[in-house]
């Protein structure tokens, strides 16, 4: 029986619930429900040159492909590997992995996802004829086998524990459909399993995708998403102001105030890349000395670079090339403090009290504020007697001299660990057999070898942390900052969040009318 007292208590609870509900979601309060449907337009520096996800690794292309395609596994914003198309996996032996696929996942053309599709996709990336830039991430794979329709076995040539990180960049495409339409047909009518379905791609202009009604995680709230390629920073900003785009990515930090005063939401994410000045350790040169490299780290004021040049956006690296969003980040390490006196003392100890000259290869427009940062670093090195001669290299020549190990010995570089968010990737470059020949220290090589044989996740994390500590003590570079991705969002857009992986999940994004 409902008593008078119960009635009062219940109605009181109800009123309180209404009150809490109103206070909680102020913007959505009038309608109660966030808006469904609608279109989101994103202003981005470029869109993919081809809708074939296996042939392009440009950072801006990653979030575009991610709306259409999915991988077996993905890295989250802390660097943990999470299941996507693979429901679970286990290592059968040191060289054999077994993946169980999610059942009932459908490609946009209605075809069901099977082990054959996974086998086909991995083998296509491995095929030299595909010229996939991702091949190097998975080239330890020697064989892929479809055991049954939902089980895939992957064999590696030798123990290789970061296999999952490698597979987190391989998009799964439907084998039968691809073979029917061919590579060109696929690039013009791509089919994946992702939350959005391909609608239109206009070269250098726009990519339009529409909601996938039968997406296995549930239909996205938005009806349509448009990626508009706007290469000039200033044009992306005015497109936002003119109402032509709802989100503008990579806003120069010095334009933030202007957009904020016009009511746009300004946000910043620390992207998964560590900006450093690498110091190649050629024997017999000053940079071969550990004290010299430590001295250079003391000589540079990282906080000044962050505050004055990046206006506080981004984050000073903690004496390691990766940030806290990366698997293998060592929380115990601290940045080298800014201490020019200490730097001078260390240089004197190493026998370079009179300073030395060195070539510094820089870039313009490759990284946020790169030229300004290069000049600041060079100015501070001059304070302790090191004369770095800046030579700006064009992008193509820059990469070529890196791969050919003729760069520097001092050069700016961003160690990109996105989208896999794992320290193995950048740290592997400091091995003596890496293409760039940055250093040759057998003790460090051993650490990475051990890491790649460690199949226990925590054990592998500890070894990577140890490797980071090793490089903090014997620095192969001047650690600078984790670079920011500043972006502006229209006030009517809810739920848009750019991740350190350079990706964004658009399934929960809503756009209010107004």
């Amino acid at each position: 029986m409902l008593t008078r007292r119960d009635f009062l208590r219940l109605s009181g609870l109800g009123l309180a619930a209404v009150a809490v509900g109103c206070a909680g979601q102020q913007p959505a309060a009038p309608s109660g429900q966030p808006a469904r449907g609608g279109r989101l337009t994103i202003g981005i520096g470029s869109i993919p040159p081809s809708m074939d996800p296996h042939v392009d690794s440009t950072a801006n292309s990653l979030p575009c492909y991610a709306q259409l395609f999915e991988k077996l596994v993905a890295a989250d914003e802390k660097g943990n590997i999470v299941p996507v198309l693979a429901e679970s996996w286990r290592s059968v032996s040191e060289t054999v992995w077994e993946f169980k696929l999610r059942s009932g996942v459908k490609f946009h053309n209605g075809q069901e996802l099977t082990a054959e599709d996974v086998k086909f996709s991995i083998e296509r990336v491995l095929d030299p004829k595909t010229t996939s830039p991702w091949r190097g991430r998975v080239d330890r794979i020697s064989r892929v086998e479809a055991v049954d329709s939902l089980t895939v076995r992957v064999e590696t040539s030798g123990p290789f524990s970061p296999l999952l990180q490698g597979l987190s960049v391989v998009d799964i495409i439907p084998a039968r459909y691809f073979q029917d339409v061919g590579p060109q047909g696929f690039a013009t009518a791509p089919v994946g399993t992702g939350p959005f379905v391909f609608k239109e791609w206009v070269r250098q202009e726009r990519l339009v995708v529409t909601a996938n009604g039968s997406y296995w995680r549930g239909r996205p709230a938005l009806d349509e998403v448009v990626f508009r390629a706007i290469p000039a920073d200033a044009s992306r900003i005015v497109a936002l102001e003119a109402g032509d785009v709802d989100v503008a990515l990579l806003i120069p930090p010095d334009q933030v105030d202007r957009l904020r005063s016009r009511g746009f939401q300004i946000r910043s994410v620390n992207l998964g890349q560590g900006l450093v000045v690498n110091l190649r350790q050629t024997p017999g040169t000053p940079l071969a000395s550990r004290q010299v490299r430590q001295a250079l780290n003391y000589a540079v004021d990282k906080n000044m670079i962050l505050e004055k040049l990046l206006l506080g956006y981004g984050r000073v690296l903690d004496g390691q090339v990766v940030g806290p969003d990366c698997f293998g980040y060592n929380p115990d390490l601290k940045p080298y403090p800014y201490d020019p006196a200490r730097a001078r003392a260390l240089l004197a100890e190493a026998g370079y009290g009179g300073g030395f000259e060195v070539t510094f290869h820089g870039t313009v427009g490759r990284y946020t504020k790169d030229k300004e940062i290069e000049e600041a670093v060079i100015g501070q090195l001059a304070e302790v007697g090191v004369k770095a001669n800046l030579q700006i290299l064009e992008a193509g020549v820059f990469i070529q001299s890196f791969l050919g190990a003729t760069i520097g010995p001092m050069f700016i570089w961003a160690w990109q660990y996105l989208p896999a968010m794992d320290a193995d990737l950048p740290l592997n470059f400091f091995r003596s057999d890496s293409v760039a020949k940055l250093m040759a220290q057998p003790r460090f090589d051993e650490l990475i070898d051990r890491e790649r044989r460690a199949f226990d996740t925590e054990a592998r994390r500890r070894i990577l942390q140890e490797a980071n500590a090793y490089l903090r003590d014997d620095p192969p570079c001047i650690f600078l900052v984790q670079t920011p991705g500043v972006y502006a969002v229209k006030p009517t857009v809810d739920g848009f969040s750019w991740q350190p992986t350079y990706l964004f999940d658009l399934t929960k994004v809503t756009v209010r009318q107004g």
């Binding site: 830039p133 202009e205 003119a242 064009e394 193509g396």
Partner: protein
């Protein structure tokens, strides 16, 4: 006239061959395209493999002969970035750039002819001064700055035109106006100078002495003579505009060939750069030829040379 045309056509072929050869050599000196196709995790062996697949490991002269052989059939090879025939990629974006440059050229002719004549007729008046100011400022303003100002005024404040991208005619207005400003200013100066010079010729004095109306003197006697250098310059202007389109297309996110070439150079997409420069060069040479033919038709003295 036929002999003249034949001579000019031979010139055309030689010019295009020269341009492709220079381009071929310069591009190959500029760096390795394969280094830009891979991520840093690619091994040297894998890079060598790709280079072999694309034929970049062959001796230069062999690559050159193959290039020439294919180029005469209109085949510039496969784009390294778009994974389609380079000629197709270029011809798909060419119309966008042609639209833009043609409209800009039309706009600049429409503005510069009346302004130039007006300035010449009203020489040393305040009007001439004002037009003179336009010709100086118009040439001094950089494209990228003017483009942004146009977007701010017409797309952000007045909201009458889109800020960029492609679609209807409305999308063309701002980029074409940006592009036209410089050449309009240049041409105005030229028209003014040409007309002013002609106005002192004996035949003009004769025409006036006959009692012809000043407008008739201008339209029938002064302009046709003043226009000859203008026509020649208009022909060459196309090349300058196509160059300016690179910046304008970037600011207005216009999907034209200018951006394609810049991306091609950055990514060392040899086939696309070669095809694009070849087509633009061919177009510029044809425009110049056309301009010369018009001149020789307007002015018989040109043919005799």
């Amino acid at each position: 006239m036929v002999a003249y045309l034949g001579r000019r056509l031979v010139d055309l072929v030689v010019t295009l061959w020269g341009i492709s050869t220079i381009l071929f050599v310069v591009l190959r000196l500029s760096g390795d395209p394969v280094a830009l196709m891979v991520t840093e995790t690619t091994t040297p062996e894998q890079i060598a493999e790709i280079r072999h697949l694309l034929g970049f490991d062959e001796p230069l002269w062999k690559q050159y002969i193959r290039f020439l052989g294919q180029a005469v059939t209109g085949d510039f090879g496969q784009s390294l970035r778009y994974f389609k025939p380079a000629a197709t990629v270029v011809l798909e974006t060419l119309p966008a750039t042609l639209q833009l440059t043609a409209l800009a050229l039309g706009l600049s002719a429409a503005v510069s002819l009346p302004l130039g004549v007006l300035a010449a007729v009203r020489r040393d008046s305040w009007l001439d001064g004002l037009i003179g100011l336009f010709t100086v400022v118009g040439q001094a303003i950089p494209f990228y700055w003017l483009g942004i100002i146009f977007i701010l005024v017409f797309a952000v404040w007045l909201r009458v035109l889109p800020s960029g991208g492609s679609g209807g005619v409305a999308h063309l207005v701002l980029p074409a106006a940006t592009l036209a400003t410089y050449s309009a200013a240049r041409l105005t100066q030229l028209v003014r100078a040409g007309t002013a010079e002609v106005l002192y010729e004996d035949y003009i004095r004769t025409a006036r002495a006959k009692g012809l109306h000043e407008l008739v003197v201008l339209a029938r006697h002064a302009l046709p003579n003043a226009l000859i250098p203008v026509i020649t310059v208009l022909g060459m202007e196309f090349g300058i505009l196509a160059g300016g389109a690179v910046i304008t297309e970037t600011i207005f996110a216009w999907p034209g060939m200018g951006r394609l070439v810049v991306q091609g150079v950055i990514g060392r997409d040899y086939p696309v750069v070669q095809a694009a420069v070849f087509f633009v060069a061919a177009f510029v040479v044809l425009c110049n030829l056309l301009a010369d033919l018009i001149c020789s038709w307007v002015d018989p003295r040109v043919r005799a040379r």
